[in-house]
């Protein structure tokens, strides 16, 4: 079995958040994570790749502070703990919109919750909607949107607080392929222009290779890091990259790593 290339040396500039020996055992006894070590580096697009049930979503929730680890620590070197709420944007697997209100109010929610001045909020909401291409749908209710547009709304909401870290939990898994490719491209251009750090959970090898700088492959039950791959292909990536031999080779490499991870210890 081909072994993936060793992990690259850490980028300069430290880490945004690091998970040290993190374990998560649920009340029903299921061990979701066990001794997970993970550093998220500033400005990178990091994908957590693994089969369903490998605890990647759990890891994301721990980073977001939505759940507490039962072992180990989640460290924020810049000591932004008190401001974490402002620093993180979270995109769930489902669009998770409030059906009773418009796209605008949905995107404005994080600012409303922080009691931001309405005038300032309106400017930020317009900008966020503009960024995801939904400026014309501001007054529409979620049920009138397609699946892709709902997800764009969700992304706009995550971006509206201008977080430095964007966490995405299989956001495009439920979308058709054409929509997913389009959203992948749009996400990459957002990432390139906004310079956010992104942690992206997926079970799709192709998606992870297309999007990421770095892929962390996880083992299933209990979840821990199996190996990591650096994806050095330059940005901007586009359809040409998607059909290139380089992309195919990287996908094969990631697939093999994933298969090896699912097969047990290396």
């Amino acid at each position: 079995m081909a072994h993936p290339s060793p992990a690259p040396p850490p980028l300069s500039g430290g880490v945004v958040v690091s998970l040290r020996g993190v374990g998560k055992t649920y009340a029903n006894g299921v061990v979701a994570l066990d001794h997970l070590d993970l550093d998220v580096r500033p400005g990178e697009f990091l994908s957590l790749l693994g089969p369903s049930g490998c605890g990647k979503s759990t890891a994301l929730r721990l980073i977001a502070g939505l759940s507490e680890p039962t072992a180990g620590t989640v460290e924020w070197p810049r000591d932004a703990t008190s401001e974490r709420a402002h620093e993180i944007g979270f995109v769930f697997q489902e669009p998770t919109l409030m059906p009773w209100t418009t796209v605008t109010s949905n995107v404005r929610l994080p600012l409303d919750l922080q009691h931001l001045d309405p005038g300032k909020a309106a400017v930020r909401v317009d900008a966020a909607l503009e960024r995801v291409g939904l400026a014309d749908f501001a007054g529409v209710y979620p049920r009138e949107l397609s699946g892709g547009m709902k997800m764009r709304t969700s992304i706009a909401r995550a971006l509206v607080t201008e977080p430095s870290l964007l966490l995405m939990d299989e956001p495009f898994a439920a979308l058709d392929e054409i929509t997913r490719f389009k959203l992948n491209d749009d996400l990459l251009s957002l990432w390139a222009s906004l310079r956010k750090t992104v942690v992206f959970v997926t079970h799709s090898v192709f998606e992870s290779v297309y999007l990421s700088n770095r892929i962390v492959v996880m083992t299933p039950s209990p979840g821990r890091v199996f190996t990591e791959l650096a994806i050095g292909a330059p940005h901007p990536r586009d359809r040409k990259f998607r059909t290139s031999a380089e992309y195919a080779a990287l996908c094969r490499q990631a697939s093999e790593a994933l298969a090896a991870a699912a097969g047990g210890e290396p």
């Binding site: 929730r61 977001a64 502070g65 939505l66 709420a85 993180i88 979270f90 769930f92 697997q93 489902e94 998770t96 409030m98 059906p99 009773w100 209100t101 929610l109 994080p110 409303d112 919750l113 922080q114 209710y141 979620p142 049920r143 607080t161």
Partner: protein, 271 residues
């Protein structure tokens, strides 16, 4: 998109049928009623003809209308108290599990004990008006409480996480998340409670009628019964039915107006 016009026309035809058929059925029913009364020459104190009922409704209108207002006022007061109390207590339950555990069984007991059985006791204890009001309140209270409680628990888990992520306060979660999410359930509760508070008021008025006081529509019915004024009984009954129907449709309209932009229940039948 192309199939829309025919689809819409078909739907409109069906809507028209839904209105016209019950009216036609009513007309036939009234006709048969009238025929039977004429053919068998039934005495008015057994079964008055529809014409006589209508005539009584017109001739006794001042009296009946006065009574209708009394009953409707009690119904409305009981209903509003039930809405405020039911929603309020549901919110309290949602905030504190201890309060919920302590009080919920008693709310259920209040519900399962037939109001007809409680009414005489209330009339002994309370002044006339307060007793009737209490009955209207008791029956309407539980549907509001139960529905709102269910609604407040039916919040999208991810949305709860989202509010947590942004450190929303308890008030923000309640006002911006839980209450809107519970709104369809609250609206369902309103529709049930509206009709029930009328029933509660009527039951109490009838029970109080034996005690001799009061002037509501139901009290008119029992009074007319003693006097064998059956046409007036029918007229009062018709008014009560109409009042119930109006309450139901008014609350349905309210529900539709509140939910039409987003909730499945208000988005038409063909989905």
């Amino acid at each position: 998109m192309n199939a829309e016009p025919t689809e819409r026309r078909r739907k409109r035809g069906e809507d028209a049928l839904r209105i016209l058929l019950p009216i036609a059925f009513l007309a036939v029913g009234v006709l048969v009623w009238d025929l039977i009364v004429r053919l068998y020459d039934i005495k008015p104190f057994l079964l008055p003809s529809p014409g006589l009922v209508f005539a009584t409704l017109v001739s006794d209108w001042p009296l009946l209308f006065q009574s209708l207002l009394v009953t409707l006022t009690t119904t409305l007061e009981g209903f509003l108290l039930a809405v405020v109390g039911g929603v309020g207590l549901a919110i309290l339950f949602n905030l504190s599990r201890l309060v919920e555990y302590s009080l919920y069984p008693y709310a259920v007991i209040l519900q399962v004990t037939p109001v007809v059985a409680i009414a005489p006791l209330l009339i002994v204890w309370l002044p006339q008006h307060a007793a009737v009001l209490a009955c209207a309140w008791i029956v309407a209270f539980f549907p509001m409480l139960a529905n709102t409680t269910l609604g407040l628990h039916s919040v999208d888990r991810n949305l709860v996480d989202l509010f947590r992520l942004y450190r929303a306060s308890l008030g923000q979660v309640l006002w911006r998340l839980k209450l809107p999410a519970a709104l369809p359930y609250i609206m369902g509760g309103l529709k049930i409670a509206g009709g029930l508070s009328l029933i509660g008021a009527v039951v109490a008025e009838i029970a109080a009628g034996a005690a001799g006081a009061g002037s509501g529509l139901a009290w008119r019915i029992s009074e007319s019964q003693y006097r064998l004024n059956v046409p007036r009984m029918f007229a009062a009954l018709v008014l009560l039915s109409v009042a119930g129907i109006v309450i139901y449709f008014a609350l349905s309209l309210l529900s539709y107006l509140v939910l039409r932009r987003w909730h499945e229940s208000a988005l038409g039948r063909d989905t």
